[in-house]
Symmetry: C2
DNA sequence: ATTCAAAACGAACGAGCGTTCGCTATTTAA
DNA sequence: TTAAATAGCGAACGCTCGTTCGTTTTGAAT
């Protein structure tokens, strides 16, 4: 059996990923060992999972800013004072989620070098990675996407937006494909934006796709076939 | 010179639309004459424009729930009490924006019957209408899209989501095209979702498209050409 | 069983929230 | 010019917010 990314199924992706859904909060605790006041690991990990899960749930209803720490306390069963053993401040909670996703979770998917040289195949791997990561850690991606707008102005030093960076990375691969003669694309910037919009739609509107029984493999297959049509890939 | 939708440029669309950016708040005042306490029309229209503009600006920063009426008062130069001559309550303000867009503004674009019968052309008109309306009234669409998530749970009787309805309308047109033999599409539902995601991207990430000097015609052209590629339209 | 950090608790604080209302200023009509 | 009606004002109300901190509970090691 081939390994990712040659076997580009969701299952193969999960198999090679050096983290799984069960180990996320243990990683989370490690990552923020310095700022989390609670030192007894097992309890800390359990509570962090409770806190993050409830935060995703509550923030998705009315936005993080509108969520109160009393709501969070009620949902988690952890007292107001108890929460502050984990989070430092409300703003810092959002910051932790943001940092953990962009600095720890996302990089894990990029670790193993693809060993592919054709721009089209690199592009496929890039898109599939985005969909599969979004499937495994949907609430994280959703939260960061939704709150990035409000945080961007608060702390300007942070990357202005995931969007610009992601769009540029896609555009450069498309341009490389056009140069190599494998692709045909009149407007790489717009094509990159379109593909990114479809990636984001996957974790923004998960309810819609769940409703229609569309699983990660289905969506990734569709996204890649759309890419091939959009870029008129020669040999696909 | 041909008229919309035969001439499908942004300019032709604007020419036939029975409302323009200057007359929006006069229409807005008419629409809510019963609930707005201020009866002197000229002043009311001016203040409504100030209030809505500031609301769009503030809500886009941290979300409508996180925006305070004191912020709004400061931004508009209208006192707290003064605001309440126009809005009834904070929640009602969001409701007014929502209702005006969906019940008054959006229907205006659908008024003049397209007189087109081919599904592909209907689809093109539908997509261009969405882009052009989004261009003219971007803050309105942005606001409603962003706040629809938080309002949906508050008042369930309201349409569950624009998304489901829009996706279905697109899907039905695609299915009609496939039946007519003009199109080829393995998954109408996913194709409809992809097109909708691109439509929404236009008003959600206007900053990105402005940065790259992409105007409404550019984006609509790209969207339609993407549609043709995606659906393998025979005669385009 | 006792000890004692570690962790959780929840009342209390000042600030800011949405909303109200009595008052002043402005406009209109005679 | 005057009187009435309309529109705008902003302090005040009850409430909830994020955050703090002195106290109580928990749990592992002795």
């Amino acid at each position: 059996m081939q390994a990712w990314p040659v076997d580009n199924s969701f299952q193969a992706f999960k198999r090679q990923l050096p983290i799984c859904r069960n180990s996320v909060y243990s990683e989370f605790y490690d990552f923020f060992r310095d700022v989390i006041k609670v030192k007894r690991e097992s309890a800390a990990i359990k509570n962090l999972e409770t806190i993050c899960t409830a935060t995703f749930e509550l923030a998705s209803k009315h936005g993080f800013d509108a969520m109160s720490l009393r709501d969070l306390s009620r949902s988690t069963g952890i007292s107001m004072g108890g929460l502050y053993n984990y989070i430092g401040s409300k703003d810092e909670l959002a910051q932790m989620v943001n940092d953990f996703l962009s600095r720890r979770l996302a990089p894990m998917a990029a670790l193993n070098n693809p060993k592919q040289d054709k721009p089209r195949d690199l592009l496929e791997t890039l898109l599939r990675t985005a969909i599969y990561m979004g499937s495994l850690f949907r609430p994280w991606y959703r939260f960061v996407y939704m709150e990035s707008k409000t945080m961007a102005r608060k702390q300007r030093d942070q990357a202005k937006s995931f969007d610009l960076y992601d769009t540029q990375r896609l555009r450069e691969l498309i341009e490389a494909g056009v140069r190599a003669g494998d692709m045909d694309c009149a407007n790489p910037e717009l094509s990159a934006s379109a593909l990114l919009a479809m990636v984001q739609d996957w974790y923004l509107k998960s309810w819609k796709y769940k409703r229609n029984n569309i699983d990660p493999d289905d969506y990734a297959d569709f996204l890649v076939s759309t890419m091939d049509k959009l870029l008129a890939c020669k040999d696909q």
